[in-house]
Symmetry: C2
Subunit: 464 residues, 2 copies
Amino acid sequence: AREQTPRPGDDVGVLTRLREAVDDVARHSPARMTLVVFASVVGIVTALLSLPIATSTGQRAPFADALFTATSAVCVTGLVTVDTATYWSPFGQVVILVGIQIGGLGVMTLASILGLAVSRRIGLTQKLLAAAETKTTRLGEVGSLLRAVLATIAVIEGALWIVLFPKYLLIGYPLGEALWHSLFQAISIFNNAGFIIEEGGLGQYAGDWWMVMPIIIGAFIGALGFPAILSISRNWRRPRQWSLHAKLTVATSTILWVVGTLAIGLLEWANPRSFGTLPAADRILNAMLAGMTPRSSGFSTVDIATMTESTWFIQDALMFVGGGSASTGGGIKVTTFAVMVLAILAEARGDPDIEAFGRRIAPTVLRLAVAVAFVGATLVGAGTLALLVLTDLHLDVVLFEVISAFATCGLSTGITANLPDSAKYVLSALMFTGRLGTMTMAAALALRDRRRVIRLPEERPTIG
Amino acid sequence: AREQTPRPGDDVGVLTRLREAVDDVARHSPARMTLVVFASVVGIVTALLSLPIATSTGQRAPFADALFTATSAVCVTGLVTVDTATYWSPFGQVVILVGIQIGGLGVMTLASILGLAVSRRIGLTQKLLAAAETKTTRLGEVGSLLRAVLATIAVIEGALWIVLFPKYLLIGYPLGEALWHSLFQAISIFNNAGFIIEEGGLGQYAGDWWMVMPIIIGAFIGALGFPAILSISRNWRRPRQWSLHAKLTVATSTILWVVGTLAIGLLEWANPRSFGTLPAADRILNAMLAGMTPRSSGFSTVDIATMTESTWFIQDALMFVGGGSASTGGGIKVTTFAVMVLAILAEARGDPDIEAFGRRIAPTVLRLAVAVAFVGATLVGAGTLALLVLTDLHLDVVLFEVISAFATCGLSTGITANLPDSAKYVLSALMFTGRLGTMTMAAALALRDRRRVIRLPEERPTIG
Ligand SMILES: [K+]
Ligand SMILES: [K+]
């Protein structure tokens, strides 16, 4: 650490130089760094889950299942090829929980810091890059950002833990197990992970408001995403002061929840196989959950296989839209969806600008939205085609499974466990790409970042 | 006709005044006029098909089937609830053929004149509106436009008729029937109508290049659309001189055809139920047809029901994209698809502009493309949900049928005839909307055409 002559003000400690090296990579290709970090975390979790002590039987888990579970955990998806409650040992469950928390936290910070850099949003990124370049305010800036993220996580996961702990005591768990179960559940809920360690699943809590309401509320908040939560928490009494992003995210999330709840409630109200035999209040509770969790939480008190195909199709749409930007939710994101809807309204009205909440939205934002949605649809299409070829399953269950993986939702009609390994790898790749973000993936794989100086002459092809 | 004092140069004949009245409506709401004209034509054809003489048995056709067939004919779709060859009388078949030709011709002229006005393309519309306003060059302009459309139709339908007539003679049809069958087939092919009056369907011609190649070539040209055909025919030896629209249309159509042919060819090569038992050359022919006709022709020599579900899914995608703008093809149109792909490439590369063939494409074009694609996807989604609720069919066949109707393609896995009337009405509405064009429909139904003077301040929500 003394090979170079230190310049004035240089701190030549090893940690500082490592940090500078990482910053350098992040500045030149933040997307590629995100990709590498993510893949490494998945690799480590896969390795840990491949240890014999990770399973309850002490036998080594097959590679396809270890990789699938690791990807599902780190990408906070919740799709499982083996039952989390019975297949994995306590060690394995702790590994999964840590994977979920790293995936949720890591993606939150990386996605809000690096992901925003990819999408070229002005505020935060430029501040960060400027801080990195001047090397003076950098630590302070990054530190305060991380502190805000960590505070949010601690407050909300803590609140969920406190609410759920007495519930598990009441159910009859001993103190230690109640603490463990409520902690696992709290982390899984806020990170929209969809993993559960209840033997027999959540079906036993179908009418239990104390268990279900925390899932609904925690999933809603977790799926808002860090940029929205930060803006709201700074002005939580004055919604008019929220950023456009926060307003759009809250409004769209709420509308999708209400629409999903009403639609699924109507379609399943009289279905005796799903929740049609429960008391009316519990049917409403289950409809509220079924309308919320497709947008990436993935918890379900009702076996999806018992629902109607119409409900599946509505859930397909909700899953594809997903959660908020830089959230623990997946999909193409609610703002992407909202911007496209606003563009269509502007087009139909003949307005020159796309507008929302008294602001206009730049055409370049629409272009990014189109790219995200279109690439997402293409990935879902390619994944669906792959599973149709690799299995003899039909489109209804295949499309549901593929969108669930891409949107890191984790709901399933029940086909996951019996898929061939090849299909498990396809779904793993979808979860990974879906969690990383399609455009981050595209930027990470891009071979060049061409920028033209000369603008070409304009010509308008006919559309539609 | 003498109530007003004629101004100098005024022609006060009844026809002129009627033309002025129509022009006035067209100028103020061309979309609404298109809607009304189209609905009227469908209504008249429905009424004619409801006459007892329209069926071969002399019994009045049920309303749902008359409406469905009329919509399918006028919207050049080709989905049928009853067998065209056997259910309808010669009178009924003539009505259907006239409906196809009006639908194809009418939509060609109306879509190229009014549809372009809706999409606010500069060249043609402004010329037309200017001509209408000055009332001097109007007739000349419109006349030359119509003459070009009519010449195109006459040349291509005539060529198809001449090629197919001896074929039908060789098959063994008497002179009159050979003339009629080849005429029907020629009109059905060029208008991408997908209707056939061969008893037993096209399956008997699965290895017949003389019958299949005219379908492939005629469908390709018909699906290019009038603006592209006009630009190409003016400079057919100098592709560099073609309009950007023509270049994009030809390039995208060709790429989609090749990709579709290869994919379907591979998936069905060894499928004995579809064309896997034919000689290799005939398998290639059938793959070429199966790769072309989903983009809205709708002819098939192979029963779709015998193909793999993977093939259905590829055809779903091809049908959704559809043909060229202002063509006899449906779907969201190839240029819509191309502009979105180009936008994604620009986004991934970090280019400020969307570019193609040495031209840049304005952001407002992308906005229109997004609107068309997104509204199309929404309509397909709504139609699919409706059919899932109304029938107990599964997603694979329902999605195929709904996209086929929306994209006025006409391919079917075989469920059309057994659908309940409610589902037939849903598909009729989809065919109508799909043929009219989603944005024309939106503009026709729009209650206001708001235009702001003040621009709002800009703010960028996070996307993806
Ligand atoms: K999830
Ligand atoms: K057709």
